[in-house]
C-alpha cells in the first residue's frame, strides 16, 4: 500500500511521521518527494546508494530551417517561446517540456535536447529502502523528478511505501499523492496549523483520496486542528505529544522508533490504525 504524508506547510512533521512509520514496519520503501529540500535521508543515512540523473527535454531551434510561421509560439500555453527579430527564442525555465512545439513545427526546425535537472538516489537503511529525489538549485519544477521517483521499480515491491510529500498543496504535491492509496495529513495545534490543514484537506477531497489526520506537537488545552477534524468529521489517526525528547532526538538526526521503545509503541499503534484504514478503504472501493 502506498501512503502519502502531507501538510499545508513545512515543519509540521511530515518527515517525522513518514520516516518513523517506515522504520516501524518490517519492510518498507520510503520515498522523499520533497525534492527541493529532501531530508529523510539525513535520518536514514542509507548505504549502497546508487544515483540516476533526471533530465527534461528542452526545445532548440534551427535558425536555417525556421521560417517564422509562429505556430509554436501560438501553441505554447506557457509562453516559453517568442519570435523576435526573425529569431526564435526559447525560455528554458518557462518550458514545461511537453514536446508540443517540436511535434507541431511544419519545417521540422525544432528538435529537443536533454537538460539534467536533478537526480534520484536509492539506498538502504536496515529494513527500509530509501529513495530520495533531489532537484538542482535554480530549477523551476520538481514534477519530473517526482514522476521518476514514483515510477521507481522499488516502489510497490514491499508491503508498505511511504511517500514524504513536499509542503503545501501545489503541483508537486498533487503529483506526489496521485497514485497514493491513502493520505496522512499532519497538523499542528495552532490556528495557522488549522488553516494549513484545511488546504490539504481540500486537496485530498478533490483527489478523492481516503485520508486521516495525525495531530503533531500536541499540548494540553485548545487544539484548533483537532476541533477542525471534529467539526468536519475527519478521522484522527493519532496524536504525537509536544515533547522535548522528541525534539532532541530529531535534531540529532536520529529516528525515534530506533532510539526509544516508548516511541516505537506510538508509531506501531499509528501504523496499525493506518493499515486498517487502508484495508477498509480498499475493501469498500473494490
Amino acid at each position: 500500500m502506498k501512503i502519502a504524508v502531507l501538510s499545508g506547510k513545512g515543519g509540521t512533521g511530515k518527515t517525522l511521521v513518514s520516516v518513523n512509520l517506515a522504520a516501524t514496519t518490517n519492510e518498507s520503501v520510503y520515498i522523499d518527494c520533497d525534492v527541493e529540500e529532501p531530508n529523510g535521508h539525513l535520518f536514514f543515512k542509507p548505504h549502497n546508494v546508487s544515483k540516476k540523473n533526471i533530465s527534461v527535454k528542452i526545445p532548440t531551434a534551427d535558425e536555417n530551417l525556421c521560417n517564422g510561421c509562429r505556430k509554436c509560439v501560438e501553441f505554447c500555453k506557457f509562453n516559453a517561446l517568442a519570435y523576435i527579430n526573425k529569431k526564435l527564442i526559447v525560455f528554458n525555465e518557462v518550458c514545461h517540456s511537453c514536446g508540443g512545439c517540436s511535434l507541431l513545427c511544419p519545417e521540422k526546425a525544432i528538435s529537443e535536447r536533454e537538460k539534467i535537472i536533478g537526480e534520484v538516489q536509492t539506498g538502504v537503511s536496515d529494513n527500509v529502502t530509501v529513495i530520495t529525489g533531489i532537484l538542482n538549485t535554480g530549477e523551476a519544477s520538481g514534477v519530473p523528478i517526482i514522476k521518476s521517483l514514483l515510477d521507481n521499480e522499488e516502489a510497490g515491491k514491499r508491503e508498505y511505501t511511504f511517500i514524504d510529500c513536499p509542503p503545501g498543496s501545489a503541483c508537486v504535491v498533487m503529483e506526489s499523492i496521485k497514485d497514493a492509496d491513502y493520505c496522512i495529513l499532519v497538523a499542528e495545534p495552532t490556528l495557522f496549523g488549522e488553516h494549513n490543514l484545511n488546504m490539504v484537506y481540500e486537496l485530498v477531497k478533490l483527489f478523492n483520496k481516503p485520508f486521516g489526520v495525525v495531530l503533531n506537537k500536541c499540548l494540553d488545552g485548545e487544539n484548533p486542528s483537532e476541533k477542525f477534524c471534529i467539526d468536519n468529521n475527519i478521522k484522527i489517526l493519532g496524536k504525537i505529544p509536544f515533547d522535548n525528547e522528541i525534539g532532541k532526538i530529531n535534531s540529532n538526526a536520529l529516528i525515534l522508533v530506533r532510539e526509544n521503545e516508548k516511541y516505537r509503541e506510538i508509531f506501531s499503534s499509528l501504523l496499525k490504525i493506518v493499515a486498517k484504514e487502508v484495508e477498509y478503504e480498499t475493501a469498500i472501493n473494490s
Binding site: N79, A80, I84, I89
Partner: protein
C-alpha cells in the same frame, strides 16, 4: 515614435499597472501623431511566461520604448532582442508617464526581477 505602457484600464487617466506581464491592458502610443490604442492582454491569466507574451506583443507592434514600473528577466531578454528600450515609469497615470517620457525625465530601468513561473 511608438511607446508602450501597461495600464490598469483603457483610459489615459488610468494608473500605470504595477506589473508588465500581468497588466490587464497595454497602451500603444505614438508620440508624433499623439494617437493611442489600448490592447487587451491575453496573458493576464496565462500559466506562465506572461512577460514573454507581452514582450512579443510589444515587439510585433514596432514599439521602440516601454515604460514600466517593473519587468522580469525573461521579458527583458525578449525586449532587448527586439531592441526596445525599457524606461522606469513613475507611480501615477498613463498620461503623466507619457508627459515625463516626452520631457526626457525618465531613466532606463536597470533592475529586472526573476520570473514567478507558475509551476
Amino acid at each position: 515614435m511608438k511607446i508602450a505602457i501597461p495600464a490598469e484600464d483603457k483610459s489615459m487617466d488610468a494608473s500605470i499597472y504595477e506589473s508588465f506581464g500581468r497588466s490587464p491592458y497595454i497602451l500603444l502610443y505614438n508620440t508624433i501623431t499623439k494617437e493611442g490604442e489600448f490592447l487587451d492582454n491575453k496573458a493576464v491569466v496565462a500559466q506562465g511566461g506572461a512577460g514573454v507574451r507581452m514582450a512579443q506583443v510589444v515587439a510585433d507592434n514596432g514599439v521602440k520604448s516601454l515604460i514600466t514600473l517593473r519587468c522580469g528577466e525573461n521579458a527583458e531578454k525578449a525586449l532587448s532582442s527586439a531592441e526596445v528600450f525599457i524606461y522606469k515609469g513613475i507611480q501615477g497615470t498613463v498620461k503623466q508617464n507619457i508627459k515625463k517620457f516626452i520631457a526626457e525625465e525618465l531613466y532606463l530601468l536597470d533592475e529586472f526581477h526573476e520570473g514567478f513561473h507558475g509551476h
